[in-house]
Structures are given as C-alpha cells and as structure tokens.
C-alpha cells in the first residue's frame, strides 16, 4: 500500500445521504465509517467498487454508501459477489453482512467462497444475534444465552467458530477486528482489499439493543495478532489459544486467487462449417 504518493479523497465522498436507521449506539456505525475511510485511503474511484450484502441490520451498508451496491437476498451475498467478481475482474468487490446472514442461512456459501478463493473482501459484523428480526439466537450465540423466548435456557449448541472454519475451508486472509477500534478495522479493510484472494474480516460489532451486555466488549478485546502467519498450521495453533476477543490479522496466505476460465468462443458460423459434408 502506498499512502504517500497520492492525494486522498474525502471519506465522506463514499457516504450517501441516507441516514442509518440503526439503533443509536449500534456497533455497525463504525463499520460503514471504516469502509469509507479505507476506500478513501486507497483512493479507489467509487465507480470501481461494489458493495454487496444480504439481509439484516448489518446488511444495510450498501444503502449508506455511494459505491455501487446490491442489497440482495438473505444469506446470498457471497454468490452474487462471486458472480460479479468473475464477470468484472476490474472491480473491487466488498461483501458485508451479519452472523445470521453469513453463518446461518448463508453458511454453505461461506464455506465455498473460502475454498474458491475469489478475490473478495468479506466483512461480517458479528453480534451473536439476529438483530433485525428482534433478537433470536444465531450460530455464534453462546450455548447458555437465555435472551430469547425461542430458545429458553439458551440454544444449547456450541457456537460456530468463524475463524477456524474460514481457515479450514481455505480462506487466504483471515482477521478479527472490533467496531470500537475503527482505526485498526480500517487498516484491516485496506489490507484485505489489497490482498489478492478471499479475505475474511470477523468484526465484533455489539448489538446494544438485544445484547446490551456486549457494551463490555471494549474491556475484553486485546490486540494480539500483530504479525499475520503465512503458514496455515501456525494460524491454527494461534487459534487454539483464542478466547474470541483477540484482534489483528491472523493469517495471510499466498495461494493464487480464482480467475474466470477463458473458454474459446464458438460462433454459429463455426458450427455450420462442421456440418458441411
């Protein structure tokens, strides 16, 4: 990343006039701010960037940005983004969503996006709850969380581990940030965009309405991963010690990103010549 030799646009240029309807205090505010700052820092032209999302409070990001956006179907942001990137290799494609959107209904797509290694930056705002539909347990909710009538006594299932799964499935860039540390989040988004391959950023982003206890995240997070591992095994070892609140870039691999297959174009006239006897 070359930060010195260019003039930088104003981050506000990447923000639309639409006012976020998020609850005051929601962690997602810092994510749209950080995305805008990262795009400005990299000096990316708005028309060369697309932001794709699914459904959820977190998936509202495209509406709040001036880059191209697609507010898709619940859980289906990654297939849309994969298609777009394959068709338009020149675009910077960002994908945003929540833990419900990405790990529950969209969990299958998450696995295959990691293994395909398409050059996308996937930002998941994890608040361990379905915020938009009023507070049901999500795949990352603690087994004993008793906050929803739908899961009395808690969901009773061990939570999904996004970083371990991303690493296992083949993601070539894996990081964790906290919405309360927007400078670090901005750095990670810049690094992820510059990385050629599937980049996954797990953002701890409190839902102050349905998980008010998450306000305490700021006292729990600790920036531990100062140097990304380039070896997957080493990254797995680091995760064995993880308490879920370590932040930084965990892993940066060097596997080549997926490219569209160039198929020879067959014209109708070619076919006709083959029929000539």
């Amino acid at each position: 990343m070359d930060g010195e030799s260019m003039t930088h646009p104003n981050p506000q240029d990447y923000r639309s006039d639409v006012k976020p309807v998020w609850c005051p205090g929601c962690g997602h505010f810092a994510v749209i701010t950080s995305v805008a700052r990262a795009l400005a820092e990299l000096g990316l032209a708005r028309e060369n960037v697309a932001l794709i999302s699914g459904i959820g409070c977190s998936s509202r990001l495209p509406a709040y940005s001036t880059v191209y956006g697609f507010h898709g179907v619940h859980g289906r942001a990654l297939p849309v983004a994969t298609g777009l990137k394959m068709a338009r290799q020149d675009l910077t494609v960002l994908v945003a969503g929540g833990d419900g959107d990405g790990f529950s209904i969209g969990g299958n797509h998450f696995l295959h996006a990691c293994r395909r290694n398409v050059d996308l930056t996937y930002i998941v705002m994890d608040n361990s709850v379905y915020g938009m539909t009023k507070g049901q347990a999500s795949p990352t909710t603690e087994a004993d969380w008793d906050g929803s009538k739908l899961t009395p006594g808690g969901p009773g299932i061990a939570p999904f581990q996004p970083l371990e799964i991303a690493l296992s499935a083949g993601a070539s860039f894996v990081a964790r940030a906290f919405s309360g540390q927007p400078a670090e989040l901005t750095r990670q988004i810049c690094e992820a965009i510059c990385h050629k391959g599937f980049s996954f950023i797990h953002v701890l982003s409190p839902c102050i309405t349905y998980r008010p206890e998450q306000r305490a995240y700021k006292d729990k997070v600790h920036q531990d991963w100062s140097q990304p591992a380039s070896d997957r095994t080493e990254a797995f070892r680091t995760l064995l010690e993880d308490d879920g609140f370590a932040t930084g870039i965990l892993f940066r691999g060097s596997e080549p990103a997926a490219k569209p297959v160039e198929r020879p174009r067959v014209a109708l006239s070619d076919m006709e010549t083959q029929f000539v006897v």
């Binding site: 609850c23 005051p24 049901q136 309360g180 901005t186």
Partner: protein, 167 residues
C-alpha cells in the same frame, strides 16, 4: 510529538472527526425523534467545524504529512474529541448528551496538555498550550451548561412501547 506538521495534522483530524461524529450522532437521534439531543449534537458539530477552520488557518504555510487512519498517535482507539457511539441511546436526554460532549472536550484538553508537556519543539509547545487552554474554556462552558440540565429520573430509559419488544 516534535514535528509541527505532524502536530497540526493531528489537530486537524481531531476537530474533523469530532464534527463528523457529532453530526452522525445527530442524524441517528433524528431518525429516532429526539429533537432536543439532535439540536445539541448539531451545535457541537458546528463548534468542531469552527475550530477546524481555526486550526487550518494556523496551518497555512506548513506542510502537513498524510497520516493513515491507524498512524495517528492518539492515546485511545479514536481521536480524543470524538464522542463515543456506544454512549448514545434513543431516549437519552440533554443531560446525557452534555456529559458526552464534556467527556470529549476533556479528552481533547488532556491530549493537548500531554503534547505540550512532552514535546521538545517550542512551536509545538506554544500551539498545544494554546489549544489546551481553548479546550479548557469549552470544558468550563459545558460544565456551566450542564448545571442547568440536571440528571433525569432513574427510569429515563423506560419505554412503555419499546421498538425492541422481543418476539
């Protein structure tokens, strides 16, 4: 912080980010129909922009380096005069908003006082001392205003018809 350009780059970012955040908080409270707090946050955003202009005037003729968002030497996760998002609530009162504004001005004052105390550059020291004194005036002003807005009753957040009624 011993380089004048670097110091002024920090001062510019401090005021700019403060103004932008106060505006963002005002937008958010506007969506949630809390006009009293909106007015207060808009005023704070306006003051931040006035101070930004002042800092920019002082920076004329000085080359300011470009610092990436994560390269600033802030004492905490964000620029010191940026009010925190998580301290807002849709039913917050002017009292809460003033407390938030006061906390941000105090942090700004402490930042400049810290720079003034540590720098070896006489120009930076003089400017940081002046900025700390200005922030001190804002702190005093906000403290005086706060005394006219006593804390609301303990049940201020209670909503008989909450938008977040669980399923």
């Amino acid at each position: 912080m011993d380089d004048l350009g670097t110091f002024l780059a920090h001062a510019v970012a401090l005021e700019k980010e403060s103004g932008e955040r106060f505006d963002a908080l005002a937008d958010s409270l506007e969506v949630h129909h809390n006009p009293e707090v909106v007015e207060l946050f808009r005023k704070m955003a306006h003051f931040s922009r006035l101070h930004l202009r002042e800092v920019q005037d002082r920076a004329v003729g000085v080359v300011l380096p470009h610092l990436r968002p994560w390269e600033f030497s802030w004492p905490n996760a964000e620029a010191p005069e940026t009010p925190s998002v998580e301290d807002t609530h849709y039913r917050m009162t002017a009292h809460h908003a003033l407390l938030q504004a006061l906390a941000s001005e105090r942090q700004g004052q402490a930042f400049y006082a810290g720079v003034a105390a540590r720098t070896v550059n006489a120009q930076v020291k003089a400017l940081a001392t002046a900025f700390a004194a200005e922030e001190g005036e804002h702190v005093a002003l906000l403290e005086a205003t706060l005394s006219r807005f006593p804390p609301p009753p303990a049940n201020w957040a209670e909503d008989p018809d909450p938008p977040n009624a669980p399923d």
